[in-house]
């Protein structure tokens, strides 16, 4: 789960990480009060969406830039009105863009230099890692690829805290060798790691971290992601969830324990197991088709879950065919076949449906499908199934 910049900065402030004074609004009527809470003069207006590249983004109506420096409160008010309710397209949002539901006003700062700082998981070591670089405000992936020597990585033991030498290594690499800056950096790093650990984050990213003209370290931007598996112990984080940032079909699927991700193609798939679901997408592509979704019904798919899976799949107008791919391990294929037949009776299906069943009670499962009177195409093996659905969808034109 991700949150917005203004929400992340509220968490930063709670953990003693310096941020600029700001105010977030969800409606035009809140804008005057929000601006009044900031000093007169220059105000930075920032559109709040879960995607990067906002500054260089373009709104659907042609208005340029999701981050604007305004010289006065009245200018900031005009700019904020243009952003709120508008759809911002950046290179991370895809062509559909994201609806701006919140605008964030920030006091300005004179920047002396920009840096990059993040805490995330080092999978290979099974430990958190701090990533720091003198190259702030740009894509860190690009820095890593082109000038890896400009990146410092320090694995930390979060229970033991960040060691003094680890802070020194980073501070010297970043050029924070002055006593005052080092003190600020040390406190900031402690806060970031504590925040990462206590709130079960998957990522805390400050890009850029800046040193202001008057020598203050400030987190100018903030990006945070959280471990979905740990949300059960953080109701305060769950409350920050912005459902308008998520695909409604994905939210609906989640209610039934289904793992669904919408994609761009036209062949829907319904599979048990995440690895097999990914592999099913791959084999559809291999035979020249395009998957419309990733869908893992899990190990304990009931008739109800399968019915809802069909309903969600069919709510996508792009879908021109369905491939069901089940390897019944412990679960009986008969159960799955009953689920498919039940679902097909409940939800009207008027597009090609190919079902591949394998494993436990496969014979009974295939009989159920054959005797159902439904126009179900049965397949033997994954390759056969993928070829059949791709050619059936292609025939439809």
């Amino acid at each position: 789960m991700n949150i917005h910049e203004y929400q992340a900065k509220e968490l930063f402030a709670q953990y003693g990480i310096p941020v600029l004074k700001g105010a977030a609004v969800q409606g035009v009527e809140q804008m005057n009060d929000a601006l009044a809470s900031l000093p007169d003069g220059v105000v930075v207006v920032k559109a709040q969406i879960h995607a990067g590249g906002r500054g260089k983004g373009t709104f659907k109506d042609g208005y340029q830039g999701g981050v604007k420096v305004c010289q006065s409160h009245s200018e900031a008010l005009e700019v904020a009105k243009k952003m709120l309710g508008n759809t911002l397209v950046t290179k991370q949002t895809g062509p559909a863009g994201k609806l701006v539901g919140t605008v964030y006003f920030n006091e300005p700062v004179k920047i002396a230099k920009e840096y990059y700082l993040a805490v995330t998981l080092d999978r290979a070591r099974g430990k958190p890692v701090i990533i720091a670089s003198t190259e702030g405000g740009v894509e860190i992936e690009k820095v890593a690829a082109e000038t890896p020597e400009k990146i410092v990585r320090i694995n930390v033991d979060p229970d033991g805290g960040v060691q003094a030498y680890e802070k020194r290594v980073m501070a010297y690499a970043l050029g924070f060798d002055g006593k005052e800056l080092f003190k600020q950096f040390s406190k900031l790093i402690d806060g970031l790691v504590k925040l990462y650990w206590e709130k079960d984050c998957s990522l805390v990213e400050v890009n850029p971290l800046v040193v202001s003209a008057d020598g203050q370290l400030i987190a100018l931007d903030a990006k945070m992601g959280f471990d979905d598996n740990a949300l059960f112990r953080h109701p305060e984080i769950e409350a920050l969830r912005d459902l308008s940032e998520e695909d409604p079909k994905e939210i609906e699927a989640g209610k039934f324990g289904l793992n669904y991700i919408a994609l761009d193609g036209n062949i829907a798939c319904l599979v048990n197991g995440a690895g097999l679901a990914m592999a099913t997408m791959d084999i559809i592509k291999h035979y020249g088709g395009n998957p419309a979704n990733f869908l893992d019904v899990g190990g304990g798919a009931t008739v109800e879950a399968v019915t809802n899976a069909f309903r969600i799949i069919l709510s996508d107008p792009k879908v021109k065919g369905i491939l069901v791919n089940i390897f019944g391990g412990i679960m009986s294929c008969k159960t799955i076949a009953d689920g498919v037949v039940g679902a097909a009776n409940n939800v009207h299906i008027n597009i090609p449906l190919v079902v591949r069943l394998e494993g436990n009670s496969v014979k009974e499962g295939k009989e159920t499908l054959a005797n159902s009177g439904l126009a179900i195409v049965s397949a033997d093996g994954m390759a056969d199934a993928a070829e059949k659905i791709v050619s059936l969808v292609a025939k439809q034109g």
Binding site: R123, G126, D157, D200, L276, A277, M278, F294, G329, M382
Partner: protein, 291 residues
């Protein structure tokens, strides 16, 4: 021979008195797996299905029944605690089936494993380990496998079944089948299992099934290139997965250009591994280079 589990394995089931756990434990027992105890805190002194004594702690199961392997079906908020308890009790092999354990909890488990190198964790979020004909610990369907000489290792449950079944249908049995799980922080890597298969005299060939995310497949490929003479086939799932989206397994995510399927496939091919183009061809890919 085989790896990790065999007929001498003595299993304690943690959390098997629950609904899902008991079903799978009974399946394992019916397969012939030697379960010796169950552990559920608060239920000590009772019996599991009139088959096994139930203890409050893993320590008791080790002391009284000589358990050396644990299988964990404990719910996600408490599963890491169960793993730590098993490590502390001296269990040598811990198989954690539970899906959805917070990463932070697994970071603590990983640290405990570093401090206790005698303990090996398989999983979490995995289908378990099976040595066909001898021992089945976890949720793999036993009937798809048969005793033989091909080792299978995978992050994914149903893809493991797919590969094992393809082999069995073609008349090739398996030495052991290992599901290492789909989480970003887990106990045992592809490389660890490949190394064990390589050192197991009864394993003649291997299938390794990977997926997008991380660099575990690349590490295994580097080892195979250097050390493994046995034929190895592989499949990588997620060629079509869009970057930045988590595909079910928390570990299956391509971020910042690392962990892509194409990079993994290139590393595998460079190591002389026969890479299956589709998941329907995993056994075929192996049989091209094995017998």
């Amino acid at each position: 021979m085989s790896i990790l589990v065999n007929k001498d394995t003595r299993v304690v089931g943690q959390g098997i008195t629950g609904k899902a756990g008991s079903k799978h434990a009974l399946n394992n027992i019916a397969y012939g797996t030697n379960y010796v105890a169950a552990v559920t805190p608060g239920k000590g002194g009772t019996s599991f299905e009139d088959k096994l004594p139930v203890f409050n702690t893993v320590r008791e199961a080790v002391l009284k029944e000589g358990a050396n392997t644990s299988v964990i079906f404990v719910p996600p908020p408490f599963a890491a605690d169960g793993i730590l308890e098993a490590i502390e009790a001296g269990i040598k092999l811990i198989v954690c089936i539970t899906e959805g354990i917070p990463v932070r909890d697994m970071i603590r488990v990983k640290a405990a494993l570093r401090d206790n190198p005698q303990a090996r964790l398989i999983g979490p979020n995995c289908p378990g380990v099976m040595t066909p004909g001898q021992c089945n610990v976890g949720i793999m369907p036993g009937y798809i496998a048969k005793p033989g000489k091909v080792g299978v290792v995978s992050r994914s449950g149903t893809l493991t079944y797919e590969a094992v079944y393809q082999l069995t249908q073609r008349g090739y049995g398996q030495s052991s089948c290992v599901g290492i799980g789909g989480d970003p922080v887990n106990g045992t890597s592809h490389l660890d299992v490949i190394r064990m298969f390589n050192e197991d005299p009864e394993t003649e060939a291997m299938i390794m099934i990977g997926e997008i995310g991380g660099n575990a497949e690349e590490q295994a490929a580097a080892y195979i290139k250097e050390h493994v003479k046995k034929p190895v086939a592989a499949f990588i799932a997620g060629v079509t997965a869009p970057p930045g989206r988590r595909m079910g397994h928390a570990g299956a995510i391509v971020s910042g250009g690392s962990g892509t399927a194409s990079a993994k496939i290139a590393a595998l091919k460079d190591a002389g591994i026969s890479v299956a183009e589709t998941p329907a061809q995993m056994a075929e890919a192996l049989l091209k280079i094995y017998k």
